[in-house]
Amino acid sequence: MIKKQRLTIRNVQDYLTKLEQCQIDPNFFTSLAYLYLSKVQVYSFQDWMWMEDDEWIVLPPVSDKVNNKALSWNKPIWAGFLNHSIEGFKIGSFLDWQFTFDPIHFNELGGKYWKVYRKNIRKYPTRNGSWEYVNTPLNNEALDLVNQWVGEKINDILDVELLYSYALEDHTKIGVHKHYLYDKSQHLIALNIWDENYRYINFRYCIVRPDIPFLDEFARYLFYTHPEIQQQGKLVNDGGSLGNVGLERFKDKMNPFKKQQIYSLNPNKL
């Protein structure tokens, strides 16, 4: 019998542990913080575990028993995994790109492929002088920054409640990390937010003052070259482009280590 379970950190962690045991390559939405803050509904049946959100199964169901019989599924899976097919489902519609970057590549930025990005990351500091990039907020300007960014990108941002929660609440216990960029007058101008799974660092948000040219490039450069990111030895999953061609081109110019397609999955019987 299918059991609906309480959404707890432990339940979400159990699901992630099963994925790791099955050596599944996790996608951008595979993190304790993302699943927990998305308020998904957790279900289990024998050794199967999965999470739902309204009409979707959020990520593919997983069982760590090799011979476990598949259930009969009647909902689509929102975001599939790259190296994993699941009995009872077929490939559905394209969901988004998935850009993966190697932080080590940002140390040198040598050669012609990095020419545009190398040039662009120098523009903010050259034009604006000193700056400070820290992991502790110096003041209480995060809400103003998020409001400005949301106001500018209201047609591009999805899941705005999740964004406010990640940016303005303290979720360090479930693995959310933040770095803050201040200008020479100590005003907050950018906020980098990430979480992790067993294989990747997920670069969740790069929130910048929308009126400052080339700040986005600079803030991302600071993220990728910070020792906290560099020293982990993990690749960074930078998410997709949300159907935004400009964002796709922007990430292409950063020379991704991999650019892959993520698909939704449909149950065979639908």
Binding site: F28, F29, Y34, D53, D54, W56, V58, W78, A79, L95, D96, R122, P125, T126, W131, E132, Y133, V134, N135, T136, P137, N140, A142, L143, V146, N147, V150, G151, K153, I154, N155, D156, I157, L158, D159, V160, E161, L162, L163, Y164, L168, E169, D170, T172, K178, R204, Y205, C206, L222, T225, H226, G239, G240, L242, L247
Partner: protein, 48 residues
């Protein structure tokens, strides 16, 4: 940025206004970011 949503129809200005109000109240009451203790040195280097 932030990843695709499972919900369709975009975000409403009313929802944004509600969130801004909610976090504005939280901020005033000190619920905002908790300070951490890791090093907080200014990063320089390429741009000195």
């Amino acid at each position: 940025m932030g990843g695709k949503s499972r919900k369709t129809g975009g975000i409403s200005k009313k929802l944004v206004a509600r969130l801004q109000s909610k976090y504005s109240t939280n901020s005033k009451s000190g619920v905002n970011d908790k300070k951490t203790t890791v090093d907080n040195k200014k990063r320089t280097g390429l741009f000195d």
